[in-house]
């Protein structure tokens, strides 16, 4: 079935259990799907936009209220919706980073944080993760001192991922923020894998900025996200326009340059808004998600030769696994080579791992029911046994 020329209707999540590491937290709620149906047209949230003509002032649908609720929920002072977490990184980097400025991030940081620094002509200075793939406050302190010696000045900003995309490990942002603040370095908390997944208290964590991803973790359409700030920093990153046209003398009211005026004007925003009550509720039940993750992870660990590369016991549902000494040994002689694993999973209605991957790969169990988690666990064990691998 097609929904347009050359565009097949996408039924991945209706027909299969999708364990794609980046897709799990962005699956829409029923209410978001309904909002998408009603608000698909371009500027659909702008029907009742009145002076001062800015997105976060629209009261019908309740966009203004949503912005306030977002800030309160994250325990920050001001929030804006942005077209993806990356646009939040970009807005903050563009505000604070100038040519040649050193900027802290980590050896596990997402590439878009590097790009945000690059675009602002800054210098990326990575805090190395330790042998457990954890970024510590001590390592942050050492890196700051190293940057000071090497560049003759302190970093102007720190990007710290609470949960990294490579291992799904949790890093002690609160302790790192304390260190950063001792040097007067503002800290951007990257919550792409936490905001909308587990409770986030920005001020308690010591964040000057909280960035979240709507499409990765808030059950919202792409591209969507949130950038929240403390009152002090909001004045800087959400400053209003001061430009005037030299011929027309036009001014542009209270538009915010870093936001390029209004940000999400339609389906992305209402999708985010419609999911929000459910997202607020679901973060309270992250323990249940971890239990489901444990069912799948334990099954994989029971297959001889399989190693969980992420911290263990797991504290997040995104997990990196090494099956070089298990599933990959089968791939060496299998007629389908490495594709046998994704093929076998596909035949059992499980999708989301990279086709051909049998060595190091990632999966995410977020949003599964317990029945689905048990099913996925059993399928991994069955595939292992069918291919002669030992299972404990």
């Amino acid at each position: 079935m097609r929904c347009g020329a050359g565009i097949d209707a996408r039924m991945v999540d209706e027909l299969t259990i999708n364990i794609d590491p980046i897709q799990a937290g962005g699956r829409l709620t029923a209410d978001a799907m309904k909002a998408v149906i009603a608000y698909g047209d371009g500027y659909s949230v702008c029907d009742n936009c009145r002076k001062p003509n800015r997105l976060d002032y629209i009261s019908k649908p309740p966009v203004a209220e949503f912005h306030k609720d977002l800030a309160v929920w994250l325990n920050m002072d001001t929030a804006r919706v942005v077209p993806g977490a990356r646009r939040g990184f970009q807005a903050v980097a563009h505000t604070y980073v100038h040519k040649g400025d050193p900027v802290l991030l980590t050896s596990l940081s997402h590439y878009t944080e590097f790009l945000a620094i690059e675009e602002a002509d800054g210098i990326a200075c990575e805090i190395p993760a330790d042998e457990r793939h954890i970024v510590t406050a001590d390592a942050a302190a050492e890196k700051i001192e190293e940057v000071k010696k090497q560049h003759g000045r302190l970093p102007v900003l720190a990007f710290i991922d609470h949960v990294d995309y490579q291992y799904g490990n949790i890093h002690d942002v609160q302790a790192i923020a304390k260190v950063a603040h001792q040097y007067d370095i503002p800290l951007l908390y990257n919550g792409a894998y936490t905001v909308g997944i587990l409770p986030v208290d920005g001020k308690n964590l010591g964040a000057d900025f909280v960035v979240g991803s709507g499409h990765k973790s808030m059950a919202a359409p792409a591209p969507s996200g949130v950038l929240a700030a403390t009152a002090e920093r909001a004045k800087e990153v959400f400053r209003t326009t001061a430009i005037t046209g030299d011929v027309t003398k036009r001014k542009f009211g209270i538009k915010e340059p870093e936001m390029m005026g209004c940000t999400l004007m339609g389906v992305t925003l209402v999708g985010m808004m419609a999911s929000f009550p459910h997202v607020k509720e679901r973060v309270k039940h992250f323990g249940r998600e971890l239990e489901n993750a444990g069912i799948v992870t334990d099954a994989l660990r029971s297959i001889a030769g399989t190693a969980i590369l992420s911290e263990y016991p797991r504290k997040h549902t995104l997990t990196r696994v090494d099956t070089t000494a298990s599933f990959d040994t089968v791939a060496q002689t299998h007629k389908k080579r490495g594709f046998y694993l994704s093929g076998a999973l596909g035949e059992k209605g499980i999708t989301g791992i990279i086709p051909g991957a049998t060595r190091v790969w990632k999966y995410n169990t977020y949003g599964m029911t317990t029945t689905q988690a048990q099913y996925v666990a059993q399928v991994f064990v069955d595939i292992a046994q069918e291919n002669g691998l030992k299972v404990a």
Binding site: E14, L15, T16, I17, R27, T29, M33, I37, A38, G349
Partner: protein, 53 residues
């Protein structure tokens, strides 16, 4: 009524997601499917009446 019908289908869609890939419904889910399909039939009936009158 148009949106109600589409939203009923959306609720069915979500149920398919929650039970993928086997779509084996327990008693509660079967009752929910029955209720949703009944609603859908009623909603489509109303659409026929309204749009073809």
């Amino acid at each position: 009524m148009l949106f109600q019908a589409m939203y009923t289908l959306t609720d069915l869609r979500v149920l398919l997601r929650e039970t993928a890939p086997l779509h084996e419904f327990d008693a509660e889910q079967k009752a929910q499917v029955q209720r949703l399909l009944d609603n859908l039939e009623r909603q489509v009936g109303s659409l026929k009446q309204e749009m073809l009158k």
